[in-house]
Assembly symmetry: C2
Homo-oligomer: 224 residues x 2
Protein backbone atom coordinates (compact mmCIF):
# COMPACT_ATOMS: atom_id res chain seq x y z
CA UNK A 1 0.00 0.00 0.00
CA UNK A 2 1.36 3.35 -1.01
CA UNK A 3 1.89 6.16 1.45
CA UNK A 4 -0.49 8.49 -0.33
CA UNK A 5 -3.20 5.91 -0.03
CA UNK A 6 -2.42 5.16 3.58
CA UNK A 7 -2.57 8.81 4.43
CA UNK A 8 -6.09 9.26 3.18
CA UNK A 9 -7.67 5.86 3.58
CA UNK A 10 -10.26 6.35 6.25
CA UNK A 11 -13.70 5.91 4.89
CA UNK A 12 -15.29 2.69 3.76
CA UNK A 13 -17.82 2.73 0.95
CA UNK A 14 -21.04 0.79 1.21
CA UNK A 15 -24.21 0.62 -0.82
CA UNK A 16 -27.73 0.42 0.58
CA UNK A 17 -30.64 -0.49 -1.62
CA UNK A 18 -34.21 0.53 -0.95
CA UNK A 19 -36.23 -2.17 -2.67
CA UNK A 20 -39.81 -1.36 -3.56
CA UNK A 21 -42.64 -3.54 -4.66
CA UNK A 22 -46.42 -3.40 -4.60
CA UNK A 23 -48.30 -6.23 -2.93
CA UNK A 24 -51.90 -6.34 -1.73
CA UNK A 25 -52.48 -2.81 -2.92
CA UNK A 26 -49.69 -1.47 -0.77
CA UNK A 27 -46.28 -0.09 -1.52
CA UNK A 28 -43.75 -2.13 0.39
CA UNK A 29 -40.05 -2.06 1.17
CA UNK A 30 -37.76 -5.00 1.85
CA UNK A 31 -35.97 -4.75 5.19
CA UNK A 32 -33.55 -6.95 7.10
CA UNK A 33 -33.48 -7.40 10.83
CA UNK A 34 -30.14 -6.52 12.37
CA UNK A 35 -28.25 -8.45 14.98
CA UNK A 36 -25.30 -6.26 15.83
CA UNK A 37 -25.41 -3.99 18.83
CA UNK A 38 -26.46 -1.18 19.12
CA UNK A 39 -28.99 -1.94 16.41
CA UNK A 40 -30.15 -5.34 17.59
CA UNK A 41 -33.70 -5.86 16.36
CA UNK A 42 -33.66 -2.70 14.35
CA UNK A 43 -34.32 -3.06 10.66
CA UNK A 44 -32.29 -1.83 7.72
CA UNK A 45 -32.39 -1.67 3.96
CA UNK A 46 -30.08 -4.35 2.56
CA UNK A 47 -26.56 -3.06 2.21
CA UNK A 48 -22.99 -4.13 1.93
CA UNK A 49 -19.49 -2.92 1.38
CA UNK A 50 -18.04 -2.22 -2.01
CA UNK A 51 -15.30 -4.63 -2.98
CA UNK A 52 -11.87 -3.52 -4.13
CA UNK A 53 -12.22 -4.13 -7.85
CA UNK A 54 -15.93 -3.55 -8.09
CA UNK A 55 -17.72 -0.46 -9.29
CA UNK A 56 -20.20 1.07 -6.89
CA UNK A 57 -23.07 0.31 -9.28
CA UNK A 58 -22.02 -3.27 -9.49
CA UNK A 59 -21.83 -3.56 -5.71
CA UNK A 60 -25.42 -2.36 -5.48
CA UNK A 61 -26.49 -4.94 -8.05
CA UNK A 62 -24.67 -7.71 -6.25
CA UNK A 63 -26.17 -6.61 -3.00
CA UNK A 64 -29.63 -6.77 -4.55
CA UNK A 65 -29.10 -10.20 -6.10
CA UNK A 66 -27.70 -11.63 -2.88
CA UNK A 67 -30.67 -10.43 -0.86
CA UNK A 68 -33.51 -11.10 -3.24
CA UNK A 69 -32.22 -13.35 -5.97
CA UNK A 70 -33.66 -11.05 -8.60
CA UNK A 71 -31.74 -9.79 -11.58
CA UNK A 72 -32.50 -7.30 -14.28
CA UNK A 73 -34.77 -5.14 -12.23
CA UNK A 74 -34.87 -1.39 -12.24
CA UNK A 75 -32.01 -0.01 -10.15
CA UNK A 76 -31.06 3.62 -9.86
CA UNK A 77 -28.56 5.53 -7.79
CA UNK A 78 -30.32 7.76 -5.31
CA UNK A 79 -27.97 9.83 -3.22
CA UNK A 80 -24.81 9.48 -1.20
CA UNK A 81 -25.08 9.77 2.55
CA UNK A 82 -21.82 10.88 4.03
CA UNK A 83 -22.21 12.26 7.54
CA UNK A 84 -19.18 11.37 9.61
CA UNK A 85 -21.15 9.82 12.48
CA UNK A 86 -23.80 8.00 10.50
CA UNK A 87 -22.39 4.56 11.34
CA UNK A 88 -21.26 3.80 14.91
CA UNK A 89 -18.87 1.10 13.64
CA UNK A 90 -16.63 3.46 11.77
CA UNK A 91 -16.49 5.85 8.90
CA UNK A 92 -18.85 4.45 6.30
CA UNK A 93 -20.12 6.47 3.40
CA UNK A 94 -23.22 4.96 1.88
CA UNK A 95 -24.19 5.26 -1.75
CA UNK A 96 -27.93 4.61 -1.67
CA UNK A 97 -29.89 3.08 -4.54
CA UNK A 98 -33.48 2.22 -5.10
CA UNK A 99 -34.85 -0.80 -6.91
CA UNK A 100 -38.25 -1.70 -8.29
CA UNK A 101 -39.55 -5.26 -8.33
CA UNK A 102 -42.61 -6.27 -10.34
CA UNK A 103 -45.75 -6.90 -8.34
CA UNK A 104 -46.10 -10.43 -9.65
CA UNK A 105 -43.21 -11.50 -7.49
CA UNK A 106 -40.41 -12.74 -9.73
CA UNK A 107 -40.23 -15.14 -6.79
CA UNK A 108 -37.85 -13.75 -4.27
CA UNK A 109 -35.53 -16.37 -2.88
CA UNK A 110 -35.13 -15.07 0.59
CA UNK A 111 -38.43 -13.44 1.25
CA UNK A 112 -40.41 -16.13 2.98
CA UNK A 113 -37.46 -18.24 4.01
CA UNK A 114 -36.04 -16.07 6.72
CA UNK A 115 -38.10 -14.29 9.29
CA UNK A 116 -35.49 -11.59 9.34
CA UNK A 117 -36.11 -10.47 5.77
CA UNK A 118 -39.55 -8.96 5.42
CA UNK A 119 -41.64 -6.67 3.28
CA UNK A 120 -43.04 -3.72 5.19
CA UNK A 121 -45.75 -1.39 3.93
CA UNK A 122 -44.28 2.10 3.71
CA UNK A 123 -46.93 3.31 6.11
CA UNK A 124 -45.93 0.87 8.81
CA UNK A 125 -42.18 0.79 8.97
CA UNK A 126 -40.43 -0.63 12.02
CA UNK A 127 -37.56 0.99 13.94
CA UNK A 128 -34.83 1.67 11.45
CA UNK A 129 -31.09 1.43 11.95
CA UNK A 130 -28.50 4.06 11.00
CA UNK A 131 -29.92 6.89 8.92
CA UNK A 132 -32.11 4.52 6.98
CA UNK A 133 -35.25 6.42 7.80
CA UNK A 134 -33.79 9.38 5.99
CA UNK A 135 -32.65 7.21 3.10
CA UNK A 136 -36.08 5.63 2.73
CA UNK A 137 -37.81 9.00 2.81
CA UNK A 138 -35.49 10.18 0.13
CA UNK A 139 -36.20 7.08 -1.95
CA UNK A 140 -39.93 7.53 -1.58
CA UNK A 141 -39.80 11.10 -2.73
CA UNK A 142 -37.68 10.17 -5.70
CA UNK A 143 -40.02 7.35 -6.63
CA UNK A 144 -43.05 9.60 -6.47
CA UNK A 145 -41.38 12.31 -8.48
CA UNK A 146 -40.21 9.88 -11.12
CA UNK A 147 -43.63 8.39 -11.60
CA UNK A 148 -44.77 11.77 -12.79
CA UNK A 149 -42.08 12.46 -15.32
CA UNK A 150 -40.79 9.08 -16.45
CA UNK A 151 -41.92 5.64 -17.49
CA UNK A 152 -40.32 3.75 -14.62
CA UNK A 153 -43.58 2.23 -13.39
CA UNK A 154 -42.66 -0.52 -15.76
CA UNK A 155 -40.33 -1.72 -13.05
CA UNK A 156 -43.26 -2.43 -10.76
CA UNK A 157 -45.59 -4.04 -13.27
CA UNK A 158 -45.51 -7.54 -14.73
CA UNK A 159 -44.97 -7.98 -18.46
CA UNK A 160 -48.70 -7.97 -19.12
CA UNK A 161 -51.06 -5.71 -17.25
CA UNK A 162 -54.34 -3.90 -17.63
CA UNK A 163 -54.87 -0.16 -17.68
CA UNK A 164 -56.52 -0.51 -14.30
CA UNK A 165 -53.43 -2.21 -12.93
CA UNK A 166 -51.38 0.69 -14.16
CA UNK A 167 -53.74 3.26 -12.75
CA UNK A 168 -53.72 1.41 -9.45
CA UNK A 169 -49.94 1.67 -9.20
CA UNK A 170 -50.15 5.40 -9.57
CA UNK A 171 -52.94 5.68 -7.06
CA UNK A 172 -51.23 3.50 -4.48
CA UNK A 173 -47.87 5.19 -4.71
CA UNK A 174 -49.01 8.77 -5.07
CA UNK A 175 -51.84 8.29 -2.62
CA UNK A 176 -54.53 9.90 -4.71
CA UNK A 177 -57.25 8.89 -7.11
CA UNK A 178 -57.40 9.67 -10.79
CA UNK A 179 -60.32 9.88 -13.15
CA UNK A 180 -60.41 6.66 -15.12
CA UNK A 181 -61.22 8.15 -18.51
CA UNK A 182 -58.73 10.97 -18.25
CA UNK A 183 -56.00 8.68 -16.99
CA UNK A 184 -56.47 6.27 -19.88
CA UNK A 185 -56.48 9.04 -22.46
CA UNK A 186 -53.27 10.48 -21.02
CA UNK A 187 -51.42 7.19 -20.90
CA UNK A 188 -52.49 6.01 -24.34
CA UNK A 189 -51.53 9.33 -25.91
CA UNK A 190 -47.95 8.88 -24.71
CA UNK A 191 -47.34 5.73 -26.75
CA UNK A 192 -45.52 4.07 -23.90
CA UNK A 193 -47.61 0.93 -23.93
CA UNK A 194 -49.12 -1.29 -26.58
CA UNK A 195 -52.29 -3.33 -26.69
CA UNK A 196 -51.63 -7.02 -26.75
CA UNK A 197 -55.08 -7.88 -28.22
CA UNK A 198 -55.40 -10.35 -25.42
CA UNK A 199 -57.74 -10.42 -22.50
CA UNK A 200 -57.31 -11.52 -18.93
CA UNK A 201 -59.38 -14.66 -18.38
CA UNK A 202 -60.93 -16.26 -15.36
CA UNK A 203 -62.29 -13.25 -13.56
CA UNK A 204 -65.89 -12.83 -12.56
CA UNK A 205 -66.33 -9.64 -14.51
CA UNK A 206 -65.65 -8.16 -17.86
CA UNK A 207 -62.12 -9.22 -18.85
CA UNK A 208 -59.52 -6.48 -19.14
CA UNK A 209 -57.53 -5.75 -22.26
CA UNK A 210 -53.87 -6.49 -21.62
CA UNK A 211 -51.01 -4.17 -22.44
CA UNK A 212 -47.24 -4.23 -22.27
CA UNK A 213 -44.58 -1.53 -22.33
CA UNK A 214 -43.17 -0.61 -25.72
CA UNK A 215 -39.78 -0.37 -24.06
CA UNK A 216 -38.53 -1.24 -20.63
CA UNK A 217 -35.79 1.34 -20.67
CA UNK A 218 -35.98 4.40 -18.48
CA UNK A 219 -37.17 7.45 -20.35
CA UNK A 220 -38.23 10.88 -19.26
CA UNK A 221 -41.81 11.63 -20.22
CA UNK A 222 -44.30 13.88 -18.59
CA UNK A 223 -46.92 11.40 -17.47
CA UNK A 224 -48.99 13.48 -15.05
Amino acid sequence: MKTSQKKYKFAVIATDVVIFTVQENQLKILLIKMKKHPYTNYWAAPGGLVKPAESVDRAAQRNLVEKTGVRNVYLEQLYTFGKAERDPFGRVVSVAYFALIPSDGVKLQTTAEYGDVTWFPVGKLPKLAYDHEEIIKYALNRLKAKLEYSNIVYGLLPKEFSLSDLQNMYEIILGKKFDKRNFRKRILSLNLIQRLRKKRRGVANRPAELYSFESRKPRVVKVL
Copy 2:
Protein backbone atom coordinates in the same frame (compact mmCIF):
# COMPACT_ATOMS: atom_id res chain seq x y z
CA MET B 1 -7.01 0.49 13.12
CA LYS B 2 -9.36 -2.37 13.61
CA THR B 3 -9.16 -5.54 11.58
CA SER B 4 -12.63 -5.12 10.15
CA GLN B 5 -11.64 -1.72 8.86
CA LYS B 6 -8.38 -2.93 7.48
CA LYS B 7 -10.06 -5.75 5.67
CA TYR B 8 -12.38 -3.48 3.72
CA LYS B 9 -10.46 -0.28 3.38
CA PHE B 10 -9.74 -0.04 -0.29
CA ALA B 11 -11.48 2.90 -1.77
CA VAL B 12 -10.78 6.54 -1.13
CA ILE B 13 -13.57 9.07 -1.24
CA ALA B 14 -13.17 12.36 -3.02
CA THR B 15 -15.48 15.18 -4.00
CA ASP B 16 -15.43 17.05 -7.27
CA VAL B 17 -17.33 20.28 -7.69
CA VAL B 18 -18.60 21.60 -11.00
CA ILE B 19 -18.75 25.34 -10.45
CA PHE B 20 -21.00 27.33 -12.73
CA THR B 21 -21.29 31.02 -13.31
CA VAL B 22 -22.51 33.28 -16.08
CA GLN B 23 -20.12 35.88 -17.45
CA GLU B 24 -20.31 37.83 -20.69
CA ASN B 25 -23.54 36.14 -21.61
CA GLN B 26 -21.97 32.71 -21.41
CA LEU B 27 -22.36 29.85 -19.01
CA LYS B 28 -18.91 29.01 -17.67
CA ILE B 29 -17.24 26.36 -15.56
CA LEU B 30 -14.22 26.74 -13.31
CA LEU B 31 -11.44 24.29 -14.17
CA ILE B 32 -7.96 23.64 -12.88
CA LYS B 33 -4.99 22.63 -14.94
CA MET B 34 -3.41 19.40 -13.83
CA LYS B 35 0.27 18.66 -13.42
CA LYS B 36 0.41 14.96 -12.59
CA HIS B 37 1.07 12.42 -15.30
CA PRO B 38 -0.83 11.03 -17.19
CA TYR B 39 -3.08 14.09 -17.07
CA THR B 40 -0.41 16.78 -17.45
CA ASN B 41 -2.08 19.81 -19.05
CA TYR B 42 -5.49 18.28 -18.85
CA TRP B 43 -8.13 20.20 -16.94
CA ALA B 44 -10.34 19.06 -14.11
CA ALA B 45 -13.15 20.30 -11.94
CA PRO B 46 -11.74 21.17 -8.52
CA GLY B 47 -11.70 18.19 -6.24
CA GLY B 48 -10.14 16.77 -3.16
CA LEU B 49 -10.22 13.92 -0.74
CA VAL B 50 -12.64 13.69 2.12
CA LYS B 51 -10.96 13.97 5.51
CA PRO B 52 -11.45 11.46 8.29
CA ALA B 53 -13.83 13.35 10.51
CA GLU B 54 -15.49 15.38 7.80
CA SER B 55 -18.85 14.74 6.19
CA VAL B 56 -18.87 14.43 2.43
CA ASP B 57 -21.00 17.57 2.09
CA ARG B 58 -18.54 19.47 4.22
CA ALA B 59 -15.62 18.26 2.14
CA ALA B 60 -17.30 19.61 -0.97
CA GLN B 61 -17.84 22.97 0.72
CA ARG B 62 -14.25 23.13 1.87
CA ASN B 63 -13.07 22.21 -1.56
CA LEU B 64 -15.16 25.02 -3.03
CA VAL B 65 -13.94 27.60 -0.52
CA GLU B 66 -10.31 26.62 -1.00
CA LYS B 67 -10.53 26.96 -4.76
CA THR B 68 -12.69 30.03 -5.10
CA GLY B 69 -12.81 31.75 -1.73
CA VAL B 70 -16.60 31.93 -1.93
CA ARG B 71 -18.93 30.85 0.85
CA ASN B 72 -22.66 30.51 1.09
CA VAL B 73 -23.25 29.73 -2.52
CA TYR B 74 -25.67 27.18 -3.87
CA LEU B 75 -24.15 23.72 -3.60
CA GLU B 76 -25.94 20.48 -4.36
CA GLN B 77 -24.88 16.88 -4.53
CA LEU B 78 -25.04 15.59 -8.07
CA TYR B 79 -24.15 11.95 -8.37
CA THR B 80 -21.51 9.52 -7.23
CA PHE B 81 -19.09 8.20 -9.81
CA GLY B 82 -17.72 4.87 -8.77
CA LYS B 83 -16.23 2.95 -11.67
CA ALA B 84 -13.25 0.94 -10.47
CA GLU B 85 -10.87 2.27 -13.10
CA ARG B 86 -11.92 5.91 -13.15
CA ASP B 87 -8.73 7.11 -11.47
CA PRO B 88 -5.35 5.72 -12.59
CA PHE B 89 -3.82 6.50 -9.20
CA GLY B 90 -5.97 4.14 -7.22
CA ARG B 91 -9.47 3.34 -6.20
CA VAL B 92 -11.17 6.69 -5.84
CA VAL B 93 -14.91 7.09 -5.67
CA SER B 94 -15.99 10.62 -6.42
CA VAL B 95 -19.06 12.26 -5.01
CA ALA B 96 -19.74 15.03 -7.49
CA TYR B 97 -21.44 18.32 -6.61
CA PHE B 98 -22.39 21.37 -8.52
CA ALA B 99 -22.22 24.94 -7.33
CA LEU B 100 -23.68 28.20 -8.60
CA ILE B 101 -21.88 31.50 -8.28
CA PRO B 102 -23.61 34.82 -8.87
CA SER B 103 -22.79 36.57 -12.10
CA ASP B 104 -21.61 39.71 -10.31
CA GLY B 105 -18.49 37.91 -9.25
CA VAL B 106 -18.42 37.75 -5.45
CA LYS B 107 -14.75 38.32 -6.32
CA LEU B 108 -13.10 34.99 -6.64
CA GLN B 109 -9.76 34.89 -4.93
CA THR B 110 -7.95 32.52 -7.16
CA THR B 111 -9.49 33.21 -10.51
CA ALA B 112 -7.17 35.73 -12.05
CA GLU B 113 -4.19 34.97 -9.87
CA TYR B 114 -3.21 31.63 -11.26
CA GLY B 115 -3.14 30.84 -14.92
CA ASP B 116 -4.01 27.31 -14.02
CA VAL B 117 -7.47 28.15 -12.67
CA THR B 118 -9.73 29.39 -15.42
CA TRP B 119 -13.34 29.87 -16.38
CA PHE B 120 -14.26 28.04 -19.57
CA PRO B 121 -17.47 28.56 -21.52
CA VAL B 122 -19.36 25.28 -21.54
CA GLY B 123 -19.24 25.30 -25.32
CA LYS B 124 -15.45 25.44 -25.41
CA LEU B 125 -14.13 23.07 -22.81
CA PRO B 126 -10.52 21.90 -22.96
CA LYS B 127 -9.29 18.31 -22.63
CA LEU B 128 -10.67 16.96 -19.41
CA ALA B 129 -9.01 14.59 -16.97
CA TYR B 130 -10.54 11.44 -15.45
CA ASP B 131 -14.23 11.07 -16.16
CA HIS B 132 -14.80 14.77 -15.72
CA GLU B 133 -16.36 15.14 -19.12
CA GLU B 134 -19.09 12.79 -17.99
CA ILE B 135 -19.43 14.57 -14.67
CA ILE B 136 -19.75 17.95 -16.33
CA LYS B 137 -22.34 16.68 -18.80
CA TYR B 138 -24.29 15.31 -15.90
CA ALA B 139 -24.05 18.61 -14.06
CA LEU B 140 -25.20 20.53 -17.09
CA ASN B 141 -28.24 18.35 -17.53
CA ARG B 142 -29.14 18.68 -13.88
CA LEU B 143 -28.73 22.44 -14.00
CA LYS B 144 -30.97 22.73 -17.05
CA ALA B 145 -33.60 20.47 -15.55
CA LYS B 146 -33.58 22.32 -12.27
CA LEU B 147 -34.06 25.69 -13.89
CA GLU B 148 -37.40 24.45 -15.14
CA TYR B 149 -38.80 23.13 -11.91
CA SER B 150 -37.07 25.05 -9.13
CA ASN B 151 -36.01 28.52 -8.09
CA ILE B 152 -32.27 27.84 -8.07
CA VAL B 153 -31.46 30.55 -10.61
CA TYR B 154 -31.14 32.70 -7.56
CA GLY B 155 -27.71 31.12 -7.16
CA LEU B 156 -26.55 32.71 -10.38
CA LEU B 157 -28.04 36.16 -9.94
CA PRO B 158 -26.87 39.05 -7.76
CA LYS B 159 -29.10 40.27 -4.94
CA GLU B 160 -30.73 42.83 -7.19
CA PHE B 161 -31.55 42.13 -10.79
CA SER B 162 -33.97 43.06 -13.52
CA LEU B 163 -36.50 40.81 -15.15
CA SER B 164 -34.38 40.96 -18.29
CA ASP B 165 -31.37 39.72 -16.32
CA LEU B 166 -33.44 36.82 -15.14
CA GLN B 167 -34.76 36.03 -18.58
CA ASN B 168 -31.24 36.22 -19.93
CA MET B 169 -30.07 33.53 -17.48
CA TYR B 170 -32.73 31.21 -18.71
CA GLU B 171 -31.99 31.92 -22.33
CA ILE B 172 -28.25 31.48 -21.94
CA ILE B 173 -28.42 28.26 -20.02
CA LEU B 174 -31.27 26.60 -21.84
CA GLY B 175 -30.09 27.89 -25.18
CA LYS B 176 -33.43 29.20 -26.37
CA LYS B 177 -35.33 32.45 -26.49
CA PHE B 178 -38.51 33.24 -24.62
CA ASP B 179 -41.22 35.71 -25.32
CA LYS B 180 -40.64 38.68 -23.07
CA ARG B 181 -44.26 39.30 -22.11
CA ASN B 182 -45.07 35.67 -21.46
CA PHE B 183 -41.89 35.15 -19.47
CA ARG B 184 -42.63 38.09 -17.21
CA LYS B 185 -46.19 37.04 -16.62
CA ARG B 186 -45.05 33.53 -15.71
CA ILE B 187 -42.34 34.61 -13.32
CA LEU B 188 -44.40 37.26 -11.59
CA SER B 189 -47.30 34.89 -11.08
CA LEU B 190 -45.08 32.53 -9.10
CA ASN B 191 -44.38 35.04 -6.33
CA LEU B 192 -40.73 34.06 -6.21
CA ILE B 193 -39.42 37.59 -6.57
CA GLN B 194 -40.37 41.00 -5.28
CA ARG B 195 -40.16 44.46 -6.74
CA LEU B 196 -37.68 46.63 -4.94
CA ARG B 197 -39.26 49.91 -6.22
CA LYS B 198 -35.80 50.88 -7.30
CA LYS B 199 -34.39 51.40 -10.73
CA ARG B 200 -31.03 50.72 -12.22
CA ARG B 201 -29.37 54.03 -12.96
CA GLY B 202 -26.67 55.11 -15.30
CA VAL B 203 -27.64 53.24 -18.43
CA ALA B 204 -28.29 54.92 -21.73
CA ASN B 205 -31.79 53.56 -22.00
CA ARG B 206 -34.93 53.19 -20.00
CA PRO B 207 -33.90 52.06 -16.52
CA ALA B 208 -35.02 48.63 -15.39
CA GLU B 209 -37.10 47.93 -12.31
CA LEU B 210 -35.05 45.92 -9.86
CA TYR B 211 -36.20 42.78 -8.13
CA SER B 212 -34.87 40.38 -5.52
CA PHE B 213 -35.79 36.85 -4.53
CA GLU B 214 -38.35 36.45 -1.76
CA SER B 215 -36.26 33.59 -0.49
CA ARG B 216 -32.87 32.24 -1.36
CA LYS B 217 -33.68 28.72 -0.31
CA PRO B 218 -34.10 25.96 -2.86
CA ARG B 219 -37.74 25.22 -3.61
CA VAL B 220 -39.41 23.15 -6.23
CA VAL B 221 -41.67 25.21 -8.45
CA LYS B 222 -42.70 24.64 -12.01
CA VAL B 223 -41.14 27.66 -13.68
CA LEU B 224 -41.34 26.72 -17.36
